[in-house]
Amino acid sequence: MEVGGAGKYVYPAAELDRAEGEAIEALKAGSQQPISDPDQWLDEELHRNILLTTVDAVINWARLSSLWPAVSFPACCAFEFITAEASRFDLSRFGMEIVRASPRQADLMITAGTLTWKMAPNIKRIYDQMAEPKWVIAMGACAISGGIFASSYNVVPGYNRIIPVDVYVPGCPPRPEALIYGIRMLHKKIAKRSLLQEG
């Protein structure tokens, strides 16, 4: 078999590097402020009386019972997430053992670890690729605020600079129990959703 040299599908490394650098700088320039939680919270009373129908209840039940996490495991917290998936803490009880490598099929992004500016465009892309409805759990101090590395030149001070975050789980790293508690909190949040909100 003959390899056809540097063909049209092989891009020069320098060009790829430059494009990557430009994407990082653009994102860095545009995300200096945290994104607030996007969920429009309706009045609690209104919720209970009118909007929360049986259909909502069924759909929310389905959604919270099968949260499939996406693969986005930059650093230390990833291992606490993996341990939470494993025998002892066993997230599979909640139907979460299917970790989808393809973000298209995942519902939940558990941002386990420090986010650097170099990684930020990729994480944003993964988030954008996920299909609605989707949720984000910021796991660990680094994911919340940059943690111990907040003063570094390459660390994003919190995932909420680039993507909206639903639940924050503190700890460095959070113990699996804490993560499971955070997931339960997310379940409660999902249970309050209504189809009307999605528009």
């Binding site: 019972s65 099968s66 599979s92 909640f94 053992e97 490598a101 099929q105 409805p133």
Partner: protein, 373 residues
């Protein structure tokens, strides 16, 4: 009244016109179409639950147990959730191909069940070329998989799809040859006749054929250790990387429906189909199907994945020669001792299988080292 019993077959005639049915075969088709749809969907849900729980037990954990009693509603929740998720079509995708792919993959799998007998004569169409029909139809879903890989315009998808096509083209041959052995013994291509011919399950008369068919069909439907097509640790999610929502659900369904179809065909060809003592026939059928599927789960949790060239080598250098030898031996047996008592043939055939497998594995190694291409 047991409706299913009404589709009784009389001596090889197609059971398309059951005598007592008002409205003739349209009515029969309608009933069986609904039964097949319900059977496939409920069995697939059951399989998903069974696989997740069973696999979890093998991996020293619990598996889903929060949704409904024992987590039984987990597949239902998954289905509702997946169906309601946003449906994404990548901007660079070939839109039409991307749309059609899940359908093209799904329909053939359902069509297979048209010739699977759930009970004596209880099948949608007792084609006299039943098993040939299965072989022909089951390959079509590969077209859907390749369409998915091509239409997504994603390199991972394309690589996965290419692997899928390569696998099915190679493994079709040993699978068909293994089926030929069964057909020779049974003397018919009709699925119902094959079951009726199994006074002794053909797994005992055709142990080598069973082995070849099982490995081959595992490879065709991409069950581990041949799950190269959506190899998690290599190709992200393989051909359905770019699929979300309902279309992904279709592929997920195809994956398990194919496993169900292959389990059903293995049951029919080798395990005596619906035949069995005491319990009602349909229950025997389901038990055997689940047992075959259990073996598939077992291999999935146990074995590492093989590489694409090793997979090809296995098909062409191991399964194909053995399948041919098996065919010759079966032909000789059928020709020379057509009336031999099965109980004599069983140990003979088992011994032949053992010798062949051992000897051939001396010739053939999965092969380590770099394979020049």
């Amino acid at each position: 009244m047991n409706i299913i019993n009404l589709g009784i077959n009389n001596l090889g005639q197609p059971a398309t016109l059951p005598p007592d049915w008002p409205g003739g075969f349209w009515w029969h088709w309608l009933v069986f179409t609904i039964i097949i749809l319900a059977f496939v969907l409920s069995m697939v849900m059951g399989f998903i639950y069974f696989e997740r729980r069973g696999m979890a037990r093998m991996q020293a954990r619990l598996g889903p147990n929060r949704v409904g009693p024992f987590g039984l509603l987990q597949p239902v929740a998954d289905a509702i959730k997946v169906l309601l998720k946003e449906d994404i079509v990548p901007s660079k995708a070939d839109k039409i191909v991307h749309w059609l792919a899940p359908v093209v993959a799904f329909v053939p799998v359902l069509l297979i069940f048209a010739v699977v007998p759930f009970q004596d004569g209880a099948l949608l169409a007792d084609l006299n070329i039943g098993i040939l029909y299965v072989v022909a139809i089951s390959s079509i879903s590969t077209v859907g998989i390749f369409m998915a890989g091509w239409g997504s315009s994603n390199k991972y998808s394309l690589l996965g799809a290419m692997r899928g096509v390569a696998a099915i083209v190679s493994y079709e041959i040993p699978v068909v040859l293994a089926i030929a052995g069964v057909v020779m013994i049974a003397g018919s291509l009709s699925m119902n006749q094959i079951v009726l011919a199994q006074n002794v399950p053909f797994i005992l008369l055709q142990p080598l054929g069973f082995l070849l068919f099982f490995i081959g069909s595992c490879a065709e439907i991409n069950r581990s250790p041949f799950d190269l097509l959506e190899a998690d640790s290599e190709l992200v999610a393989g051909f359905h990387t770019e699929y979300s929502g309902m279309k992904f659900a279709m592929f997920y369904l195809v994956e398990y429906a194919e496993a169900l179809a292959m389990s059903a065909i293995i049951t029919t060809l080798f395990l005596g189909g619906w035949r069995g003592p005491i319990l009602p026939p349909w229950l025997w059928f389901v038990i055997k199907v689940v047992a075959v599927f259990f073996v598939m789960i077992w291999t999935r949790t146990t074995l590492p994945r093989i590489r694409i060239d090793q997979m090809m080598a296995l098909a062409w250098k191991f399964l194909l020669p053995l399948a041919m030898i098996n065919l010759v031996i079966t032909a000789v047996q059928v020709l020379v001792w057509p009336t031999a008592v099965p109980w004599v043939m069983i140990p003979v055939n088992l011994a032949i299988m053992a010798v062949l497998v051992v000897v051939w594995s001396k010739f053939f190694k999965l092969g380590w080292g770099r394979v020049e291409v």
